[in-house]
Amino acid sequence: MSILPLEGIRVLELTTGAAGPTVARVLCEFGAEVIRCETRLRGDGHRGEDPKLWNKKPDFMKLQRGKKSFTVNMQTEKGRKLVYKLAEISDVLVENFGLGILEKWGLNWPDLKEINPRIILIRVKGMGCTGPHAADLTYGPNVGNTMATTYLWNYPGATTATAEPRTQHPDFMGGVTGAFGVVLALIQRKKTGRGQWIDSAQQEIGASILGPKYLEYTVNKREPQPEGNRSLIAAPYGPYQCKGNDRWCVIAVYTEDEWERFAALLEKRGLKSDPKFATHLQRVRHKDDLDKWVTSWTIQHDPYEVMEMVQGIDVCAAVVQDVEDQFKNDKQYAATGFLVNMTEPEAGDMVTENVPVRLSETPGYVRGVAPLMGEHTYEIAKNLLGLSDEEIKQLDEEKVLY
């Protein structure tokens, strides 16, 4: 195996939720050693409250795979001092607790840089570290409310805010963007020898892809409204119902050439195109009739048949997959090995998502299972902190290494 780019980088993680753990997880896949500090006093949101299930959660596995677990009680001064010692020999500290916690622990940037001026601190917060709402209690799925994702994710003309975003892109895109920021700070450190801190707001990262919507407001001075599945640059466009229960296939026809091939495909099957679909403008104007015509064909077929036939004429098509489809019917995931099988020591067989960015010289990979609660406490106390067996036993009894 080649040497990974972040080999030799040690990441200390003081996190809960998903966005903070994702920053460290992505760094881990490219070679970083990640020490996740946690406590047996209480499992975090993804380990859960029941100690019997701490090591058996699939969501925890997704977030924490490949990391080490070091149990330490941050309520105690001794515990905090041990973490200061780890910070001295670490390159990165990732945290995403509510604003004020890190300060209370004496690990905020002014203190931390005294401990280790080369360290990079990333503070992941729903709303960022400054401003009147910096201390907000947020979770990935409800960050989308403030930045207009929820408002805009609706059917046109909807009068109630009911369409529910199930995505957590402020968590996962936030996490990967945070990892990007950390690597940029590492690049900078090569030049200056100094670390720095990063204020990473999930809301701002999630919002960054909605820029054109905000420009509707700042340039055109009006509120953008929900567009549902509408497009002006493609027709047909959207999910079309197929044979089966709640089965759909997305089709998107952009160019005149694509339209000719698509119309010919349906006409060959006896579905005559209407003259009012002759041009793109007319297809956009007559979208409802066009959609009916397309559906009269798609409804006869399994969604994968539709996808294969439409892709066969070089036009965009994609099955609206559910998670079962991703496991059983997605030939691409099967061929590229996207679903990775792992065996957790207590939970048994689990499946996780592979690294979706493949580097030819230094390919990152899923480097191991998620740690059991406290699995590496002894190893880290002994090898990194230089504590004796006796001291470790004592600190365990005092509920410090706990």
Partner: protein
Amino acid sequence: MANAQRTGPLSDYRVLDLAGPLGLHCTKLLADMGANVIKIEPPAGDQSRRIPPFKDDTPHAEKSLYFLHFNTNKRGITLDIEKPDGRAMFLELARKADVVIETARPGKMDKLGIGYETLRAQHPGLIYAAVTPFGQTGPWRDYKANDMAGIALGNLLYLAGEPGEPPLQPPGEIAYGMASTYGAFGIAVSLYHRLESGRGQYIDVSMHECAGHIAGYFIPNYGYTGAKPARASRKGEETDLYDPYATKNGYARIFIIPVEQWRRLVDWMERPPSISGPEFEKMSYRRQHPEIVTKAIAEFCARRTKEELYDEGQKRRIAVTPINTAGEFIEMEQTKARELFVDMEHPVIGKYKQFGAVPRLMDTPGGIFRPAPLLGEHNDEIYRGELGMNTDDLVALRADGVI
């Protein structure tokens, strides 16, 4: 501010940007972190100049607000890489670049004679990123996919919308965004590696796989328990209080997980008898009695504005957020306090506010230094100033439709 000095952690690096919509956020991330990004458009203009919305609803190559957002800080040149002279000039530009990014169909760049192997042979330190719908391998690699297709295959579309209605597309382009973000991360980590090794590499990003990372925990959960959620509002599933509640002026959402938050909510509501019993402290019990819980909270919310609920709820350490419009987000105190939108000036758009740079590195912050380029705006600066071409060359190239 417009036309300020380019700064940021990537200010030493030069990037050639051939990306279509799938990779625009990737090169924007690099450009906003200071990279010297040169956007290469075909002489007729990038396809993203035709994507709505437009300023004043006037379709025009310089008025696409989509183009305006995703191309900040990039310098723009026109070049037809399918013509022999264009190819030669691209090779010359690539010799001086640190990073090349493209979103072409697999094999296309090789066919044009400007693929990775050719570029690497002349410059072993080059980092080359291909951000594509399905990556460079597998049975679907040649398939076409837009953002909605990525969202569909990634199990995000199926789950969004109301039962009985068609699946519902999210706003923004989340699959493009995630693929672009992973691309930017791959490039950053390759640049870091190159500082030690001196070697570049090839980066293969699949939007399809990136989209597979966004949809919460459905893949690991299905892999472990076979659980398969259906399209439905989230009521009663993961958290009992996920529904939006109508307020005096729009909607707010309350998100309760730990029991302390539930207790704080009930206290704030002055302990209505219908939900104050100890049995309601259990999430499982609340889920079994949504009609009681929802009714009490709905009555409480209906008497307040969403801003009152947000401010007071957060003060009480309860995860309440308002369901904002775009304008309400831009006008939020938090957005203003963090100066998230910055003043810009563009020759055609005029003065306006533009979304700022993320993430925020405190010692070496990026920024928005210039607005999106006009078509061919930097041809002279780059061809004359950096490739050393003269007026005769440029006139000849223009006559031939190369630039």
